[in-house]
Protein backbone atom coordinates (compact mmCIF):
# COMPACT_ATOMS: atom_id res chain seq x y z
CA UNK A 1 0.00 0.00 0.00
CA UNK A 2 1.40 3.40 -0.99
CA UNK A 3 0.87 6.17 1.52
CA UNK A 4 1.66 9.82 1.22
CA UNK A 5 1.97 11.85 4.41
CA UNK A 6 1.68 15.58 3.91
CA UNK A 7 3.29 17.57 6.70
CA UNK A 8 2.61 21.30 6.88
CA UNK A 9 3.29 24.05 9.39
CA UNK A 10 0.33 24.92 11.57
CA UNK A 11 -1.46 28.18 10.79
CA UNK A 12 0.13 30.98 12.80
CA UNK A 13 3.57 29.37 12.88
CA UNK A 14 5.98 31.67 11.08
CA UNK A 15 7.59 30.01 8.07
CA UNK A 16 10.85 31.89 7.33
CA UNK A 17 11.61 29.54 4.45
CA UNK A 18 8.23 30.18 2.86
CA UNK A 19 8.69 33.90 3.34
CA UNK A 20 12.08 33.82 1.59
CA UNK A 21 10.58 31.86 -1.33
CA UNK A 22 7.70 34.34 -1.44
CA UNK A 23 10.19 37.20 -1.82
CA UNK A 24 12.04 35.26 -4.50
CA UNK A 25 8.83 34.70 -6.49
CA UNK A 26 8.11 38.40 -6.30
CA UNK A 27 11.68 39.06 -7.41
CA UNK A 28 11.02 36.91 -10.48
CA UNK A 29 8.12 39.18 -11.32
CA UNK A 30 5.23 36.88 -10.31
CA UNK A 31 2.39 38.99 -9.01
CA UNK A 32 -0.59 38.12 -6.88
CA UNK A 33 1.17 35.58 -4.64
CA UNK A 34 -0.36 36.22 -1.21
CA UNK A 35 1.49 33.67 0.86
CA UNK A 36 3.93 30.76 0.56
CA UNK A 37 4.11 27.92 3.07
CA UNK A 38 6.60 25.10 2.72
CA UNK A 39 5.85 21.58 3.94
CA UNK A 40 7.13 18.10 3.41
CA UNK A 41 5.79 14.99 1.74
CA UNK A 42 6.79 11.56 3.02
CA UNK A 43 6.04 8.58 0.79
CA UNK A 44 5.65 5.26 2.53
CA UNK A 45 5.27 1.79 1.10
CA UNK A 46 3.63 -0.27 3.82
CA UNK A 47 2.00 -3.68 4.23
CA UNK A 48 -1.61 -3.70 3.02
CA UNK A 49 -2.91 -4.57 6.47
CA UNK A 50 -1.24 -1.57 8.16
CA UNK A 51 -3.91 0.02 10.33
CA UNK A 52 -4.96 3.66 10.26
CA UNK A 53 -4.01 3.77 13.92
CA UNK A 54 -0.46 2.64 13.16
CA UNK A 55 -0.17 5.24 10.40
CA UNK A 56 -1.38 7.97 12.72
CA UNK A 57 1.14 6.84 15.34
CA UNK A 58 3.98 7.04 12.81
CA UNK A 59 2.98 10.63 12.14
CA UNK A 60 2.55 11.56 15.80
CA UNK A 61 5.77 9.94 16.98
CA UNK A 62 8.15 10.82 14.20
CA UNK A 63 7.02 12.11 10.82
CA UNK A 64 5.44 15.30 12.15
CA UNK A 65 6.21 17.44 15.18
CA UNK A 66 2.68 18.21 16.31
CA UNK A 67 3.87 21.20 18.32
CA UNK A 68 4.37 23.08 15.06
CA UNK A 69 3.06 20.85 12.29
CA UNK A 70 -0.16 19.31 11.02
CA UNK A 71 -0.21 16.13 8.98
CA UNK A 72 -2.59 14.54 6.51
CA UNK A 73 -2.46 10.89 5.50
CA UNK A 74 -3.32 10.10 1.90
CA UNK A 75 -3.72 6.53 0.65
CA UNK A 76 -2.42 6.58 -2.89
CA UNK A 77 -2.97 2.99 -3.95
Amino acid sequence: MKIRVHVSLKPGVLDPQGRAVHHALEGLGFEGVDDVRIGRTVELDVADDTSDKALAEMCEKLLANTVIENYRIEKVA
Partner: protein, 221 residues
Amino acid sequence: MKTAVVTFPGSNCDRDMWVALRDVTGNDPVKVWHGDADLPDGLDFIALPGGFSYGDYLRSGAMAANSPIMRSIIAAAERGVPVLGVCNGFQVLTEARLLPGALMRNAGQNFICRTAELIVENANSHFTSAYSVGERIAIPVAHHDGNYFADEETLDRLQGDGRVAFRYADAVNGSRRDIAGILNAKGNVLGMMPHPERAIEAAHGGSDGRRLFESVLTVVA
Protein backbone atom coordinates in the same frame (compact mmCIF):
# COMPACT_ATOMS: atom_id res chain seq x y z
CA MET B 1 30.65 14.32 40.34
CA LYS B 2 30.07 11.61 37.74
CA THR B 3 29.06 13.09 34.42
CA ALA B 4 28.33 11.76 30.95
CA VAL B 5 28.41 13.27 27.47
CA VAL B 6 26.22 11.61 24.85
CA THR B 7 27.47 11.40 21.28
CA PHE B 8 25.02 10.96 18.42
CA PRO B 9 26.17 10.40 14.83
CA GLY B 10 26.84 13.99 13.73
CA SER B 11 27.42 15.50 17.18
CA ASN B 12 30.36 17.88 16.94
CA CYS B 13 30.49 19.70 20.27
CA ASP B 14 30.81 16.54 22.34
CA ARG B 15 34.53 16.99 22.88
CA ASP B 16 34.14 20.64 23.90
CA MET B 17 31.50 19.56 26.40
CA TRP B 18 33.72 16.75 27.65
CA VAL B 19 36.67 19.10 28.24
CA ALA B 20 34.45 21.70 29.94
CA LEU B 21 33.04 19.11 32.33
CA ARG B 22 36.49 17.69 33.06
CA ASP B 23 37.87 21.15 33.78
CA VAL B 24 35.04 22.10 36.12
CA THR B 25 34.53 18.77 37.90
CA GLY B 26 38.10 17.47 37.88
CA ASN B 27 36.87 14.06 36.69
CA ASP B 28 36.78 12.57 33.21
CA PRO B 29 33.18 12.42 31.97
CA VAL B 30 31.92 9.08 30.65
CA LYS B 31 31.43 9.00 26.89
CA VAL B 32 28.09 7.50 25.97
CA TRP B 33 27.20 6.42 22.44
CA HIS B 34 23.67 6.96 21.08
CA GLY B 35 23.30 3.26 20.31
CA ASP B 36 23.97 2.22 23.92
CA ALA B 37 20.87 0.90 25.64
CA ASP B 38 21.88 1.87 29.18
CA LEU B 39 23.59 4.73 30.91
CA PRO B 40 26.39 4.00 33.40
CA ASP B 41 25.17 3.70 37.00
CA GLY B 42 25.32 6.58 39.42
CA LEU B 43 25.42 9.50 37.00
CA ASP B 44 25.05 12.96 38.55
CA PHE B 45 24.75 14.87 35.30
CA ILE B 46 24.09 14.13 31.63
CA ALA B 47 24.97 16.47 28.76
CA LEU B 48 23.58 16.33 25.23
CA PRO B 49 25.99 18.31 23.06
CA GLY B 50 25.62 20.43 19.96
CA GLY B 51 26.09 19.34 16.41
CA PHE B 52 24.01 18.01 13.56
CA SER B 53 22.81 14.64 14.77
CA TYR B 54 21.73 12.43 11.85
CA GLY B 55 22.48 15.33 9.52
CA ASP B 56 19.39 17.13 10.81
CA TYR B 57 17.32 14.67 8.75
CA LEU B 58 13.55 15.15 8.99
CA ARG B 59 13.84 17.87 11.67
CA SER B 60 16.80 18.91 13.83
CA GLY B 61 16.97 16.46 16.71
CA ALA B 62 14.06 14.30 15.53
CA MET B 63 16.06 11.19 14.75
CA ALA B 64 18.32 11.46 17.80
CA ALA B 65 15.26 11.79 20.04
CA ASN B 66 14.42 8.23 19.06
CA SER B 67 17.91 6.81 19.61
CA PRO B 68 18.18 3.77 21.89
CA ILE B 69 19.97 5.78 24.61
CA MET B 70 17.14 8.31 24.81
CA ARG B 71 14.88 5.88 26.65
CA SER B 72 17.45 5.70 29.46
CA ILE B 73 17.96 9.47 29.39
CA ILE B 74 14.22 10.11 29.67
CA ALA B 75 14.08 7.67 32.60
CA ALA B 76 17.05 9.40 34.28
CA ALA B 77 15.45 12.82 33.76
CA GLU B 78 12.26 11.51 35.38
CA ARG B 79 14.32 10.31 38.36
CA GLY B 80 15.63 13.88 38.74
CA VAL B 81 19.13 13.55 37.28
CA PRO B 82 20.19 16.97 35.89
CA VAL B 83 20.19 16.87 32.07
CA LEU B 84 21.59 19.70 29.94
CA GLY B 85 20.97 19.95 26.22
CA VAL B 86 22.95 22.57 24.31
CA CYS B 87 22.07 23.63 20.78
CA ASN B 88 21.34 20.36 18.96
CA GLY B 89 20.97 18.84 22.42
CA PHE B 90 18.16 21.35 23.12
CA GLN B 91 16.53 20.35 19.83
CA VAL B 92 16.77 16.69 20.85
CA LEU B 93 15.19 17.43 24.25
CA THR B 94 12.20 19.19 22.64
CA GLU B 95 11.77 16.43 20.07
CA ALA B 96 11.90 13.88 22.92
CA ARG B 97 9.19 15.97 24.67
CA LEU B 98 11.33 16.44 27.76
CA LEU B 99 10.92 20.16 27.10
CA PRO B 100 7.95 21.95 25.52
CA GLY B 101 8.01 23.83 22.22
CA ALA B 102 10.14 23.43 19.14
CA LEU B 103 13.19 25.01 17.53
CA MET B 104 12.61 26.26 14.03
CA ARG B 105 14.76 27.77 11.30
CA ASN B 106 16.20 31.18 12.35
CA ALA B 107 13.87 33.98 11.33
CA GLY B 108 16.56 35.55 9.15
CA GLN B 109 17.28 32.19 7.44
CA ASN B 110 21.00 32.55 8.19
CA PHE B 111 23.27 30.41 10.31
CA ILE B 112 24.25 32.64 13.24
CA CYS B 113 27.73 32.26 14.74
CA ARG B 114 28.77 34.94 17.22
CA THR B 115 28.78 35.78 20.90
CA ALA B 116 25.34 36.68 22.21
CA GLU B 117 24.46 38.59 25.33
CA LEU B 118 22.04 36.67 27.55
CA ILE B 119 19.99 37.82 30.50
CA VAL B 120 19.74 35.38 33.39
CA GLU B 121 16.02 35.12 34.18
CA ASN B 122 16.10 32.40 36.81
CA ALA B 123 19.02 32.09 39.22
CA ASN B 124 17.43 29.44 41.42
CA SER B 125 17.80 26.39 39.23
CA HIS B 126 20.31 23.54 39.38
CA PHE B 127 22.04 25.14 36.41
CA THR B 128 21.96 28.83 37.25
CA SER B 129 22.44 29.24 41.02
CA ALA B 130 25.92 30.74 40.53
CA TYR B 131 24.45 33.60 38.51
CA SER B 132 22.21 36.42 39.70
CA VAL B 133 18.83 37.37 38.27
CA GLY B 134 19.08 40.03 35.59
CA GLU B 135 22.80 39.46 35.16
CA ARG B 136 24.05 39.80 31.60
CA ILE B 137 26.44 37.12 30.39
CA ALA B 138 28.26 36.59 27.09
CA ILE B 139 27.89 33.13 25.58
CA PRO B 140 28.59 32.03 21.99
CA VAL B 141 25.75 30.94 19.72
CA ALA B 142 26.19 28.87 16.56
CA HIS B 143 22.98 27.59 15.03
CA HIS B 144 20.63 27.54 12.08
CA ASP B 145 17.55 26.25 13.88
CA GLY B 146 17.40 28.20 17.12
CA ASN B 147 14.12 30.03 16.69
CA TYR B 148 12.18 28.91 19.75
CA PHE B 149 8.48 28.43 19.21
CA ALA B 150 5.70 27.54 21.62
CA ASP B 151 2.06 28.61 21.74
CA GLU B 152 1.12 31.63 23.86
CA GLU B 153 -0.36 29.51 26.63
CA THR B 154 2.85 27.50 26.95
CA LEU B 155 4.96 30.67 26.87
CA ASP B 156 2.84 32.22 29.63
CA ARG B 157 3.20 29.07 31.71
CA LEU B 158 6.98 28.91 31.20
CA GLN B 159 7.29 32.54 32.18
CA GLY B 160 4.87 32.31 35.11
CA ASP B 161 6.61 29.26 36.55
CA GLY B 162 10.08 30.76 36.25
CA ARG B 163 11.07 28.21 33.66
CA VAL B 164 12.72 30.67 31.29
CA ALA B 165 16.35 30.32 32.36
CA PHE B 166 17.95 32.65 29.82
CA ARG B 167 16.73 35.27 27.39
CA TYR B 168 18.65 36.98 24.59
CA ALA B 169 19.35 40.62 25.47
CA ASP B 170 18.63 41.48 21.81
CA ALA B 171 16.66 39.51 19.25
CA VAL B 172 19.00 36.91 17.74
CA ASN B 173 17.01 34.34 15.81
CA GLY B 174 13.32 35.20 16.04
CA SER B 175 12.69 33.19 19.21
CA ARG B 176 9.36 33.84 20.87
CA ARG B 177 9.91 36.27 23.73
CA ASP B 178 13.65 36.08 22.99
CA ILE B 179 13.88 32.79 24.84
CA ALA B 180 17.38 31.28 24.81
CA GLY B 181 16.96 28.50 27.37
CA ILE B 182 14.15 26.80 29.28
CA LEU B 183 13.71 24.39 32.17
CA ASN B 184 11.32 21.46 32.57
CA ALA B 185 8.64 21.59 35.29
CA LYS B 186 10.85 19.81 37.84
CA GLY B 187 13.78 22.09 37.06
CA ASN B 188 16.28 19.30 36.39
CA VAL B 189 16.31 19.55 32.59
CA LEU B 190 17.71 22.63 30.84
CA GLY B 191 17.77 23.18 27.11
CA MET B 192 19.56 26.19 25.64
CA MET B 193 20.78 27.22 22.21
CA PRO B 194 23.89 29.16 23.35
CA HIS B 195 27.04 27.16 24.12
CA PRO B 196 28.22 27.54 27.75
CA GLU B 197 30.92 24.92 27.12
CA ARG B 198 32.55 27.37 24.70
CA ALA B 199 32.98 30.00 27.43
CA ILE B 200 34.92 28.20 30.14
CA GLU B 201 38.28 29.97 30.29
CA ALA B 202 39.78 33.34 29.35
CA ALA B 203 41.37 31.82 26.23
CA HIS B 204 37.85 31.18 24.90
CA GLY B 205 37.24 34.91 24.93
CA GLY B 206 35.18 34.73 28.09
CA SER B 207 34.30 32.38 30.92
CA ASP B 208 30.67 33.21 31.64
CA GLY B 209 29.63 29.64 30.80
CA ARG B 210 31.74 28.14 33.55
CA ARG B 211 29.34 29.05 36.35
CA LEU B 212 26.57 27.00 34.73
CA PHE B 213 28.58 23.85 35.31
CA GLU B 214 29.72 25.07 38.73
CA SER B 215 26.06 25.55 39.67
CA VAL B 216 25.36 21.91 38.90
CA LEU B 217 28.44 20.90 40.83
CA THR B 218 27.17 22.62 43.98
CA VAL B 219 23.83 20.81 43.69
CA VAL B 220 25.17 17.29 43.29
CA ALA B 221 28.51 17.48 45.13
